[in-house]
Amino acid sequence: MIPSHRLPPAVSPSPKLIACHDCDLLQREAPLPAAGAAICWRCGAVLYRSNPGSVERTLALTVAAAILLAISNVFPIVAIESQGQRNVSTLFGAVLSLWNDGLMPVAALVFMTTILIPAVELGMMIVLLASSRPPPRLLRLLLAIRPWAMVEIFMLGLLVSIQKLAHLATIIPGVALWSFGALMLVFAALTATFNVHELWHNMARQSVVSDG
């Protein structure tokens, strides 16, 4: 918790001041213990966290997630067997058959939220975390597309649909089913370790150095 001060209007804005993104309350930034979080004094929003070594850890998790995403899209999710007929499907195949059935909006929505945006998000994160001078605009774009990557929800949808199919046919789990499960866990872990506040701070420091 950060104590809030009444700040006279003359106080000049500095990197030490922070405004809550949910209630706009001005507060003074304070150093945090490792693995701590600063909470807004007024509305309880998380202002920033501290997790030392987050850049390296998040980068490692992001590379792992990119590999898992590739595997998940190349290999079939499940094979279905019913009375001698066999049907093998990948996620992209499911999207494609939806498109061919004339349901373009739904096909596009599924393609964007489960394949395209997660892939773009991971690519952007690798660039942001690995480069010595990450472009601020890229981080802004990343924050804008993040809510639309829905791997974890897709995984749950996969479980529900398998449960529904279990009554109709024999289901043989494919490689992508396991890799999607792993991807969901890695995605959750990298979302937890990714420290946006720290990245913005590094960018601010770099621009001061290059200006001076």
Binding site: D22, D24, P105, H167, L168
Partner: protein, 212 residues
């Protein structure tokens, strides 16, 4: 009240990177010196945009629930499923945890989002004073849970993509899925359009004046 918001001091707090800019250095419509985002004290026309998107979502909510999201054709005839009948099917087949999950994600969350966001927008429009802390927490809940209604879109996509056993059974996605997907996207955009800082702007201080 010993607290001041950035806007009350005439400062601009960047919505994306939380950088604080002085009015001498920036004015409304400028871009943030750090990340290049559009600087505004409050999201422009936040309430009007929230209402517009909520109205669109409420209209689409009707076909989303009445039209079939899934059409199953098998040797035993044709069957059409709406969102609700899909939940009932899961319940009847004995998978109660999944039925509860789908009921929550597809029925409770979209309806709850429409009602709660409408309530929040109305409370800001009427300059309500009550429970700002709770209303902010409610907003954060709506934003966090909202994405999960995409679940059913994934379920019908996967079922349609996986079940293509020509002679035995085919599952097609129905027109209700287009409307349902649109409801999810519209309500997500509506919650992004809502600026929770407006909740706090309307608060009067102890003497009944707006702090200025």
């Amino acid at each position: 009240m010993a607290e001041r918001s950035a806007a009350e001091l005439g400062l601009y707090a960047c919505r994306v990177c939380a950088m604080i800019a002085r009015p001498t250095a920036a004015s409304a419509g400028d871009s943030c010196p750090r990340c290049g985002a559009w600087l505004n004290r409050r999201a422009p026309h936040s309430i009007a945009r929230t209402w517009a998107l909520l109205c669109a979502a409420a209209i689409l909510y009707v076909p989303a629930n009445l039209l079939p999201v899934m059409e199953t054709a098998s040797l035993f005839g044709k069957q059409q499923d709406t969102i609700m009948s899909g939940v009932i099917y899961l319940w009847a087949s004995g998978s109660w945890p999944l039925a509860a999950l789908v009921f929550f994600a597809s029925i409770v969350v979209p309806a709850g989002k429409l009602i709660l966001l409408g309530l929040l927008a109305a409370s800001v429009q009427w300059r309500a004073q009550w429970l700002p802390y709770e209303r902010t927490r409610l907003y954060r809940l709506v934003e966090f849970v909202g994405r999960w209604s995409m679940l059913d879109i994934y379920v019908v996509t996967l079922l349609a993509g996986l079940v293509r056993l020509q002679s035995l059974a085919t599952i097609k996605v129905g027109p209700g899925a287009v409307a349902f997907g649109a409801v999810v996207v519209m309500t997500m955009l509506a919650s992004m359009a809502f600026d929770p800082r407006l909740i706090w702007d309307n608060l009067k201080d102890d003497r009944g004046h707006r702090p200025e």
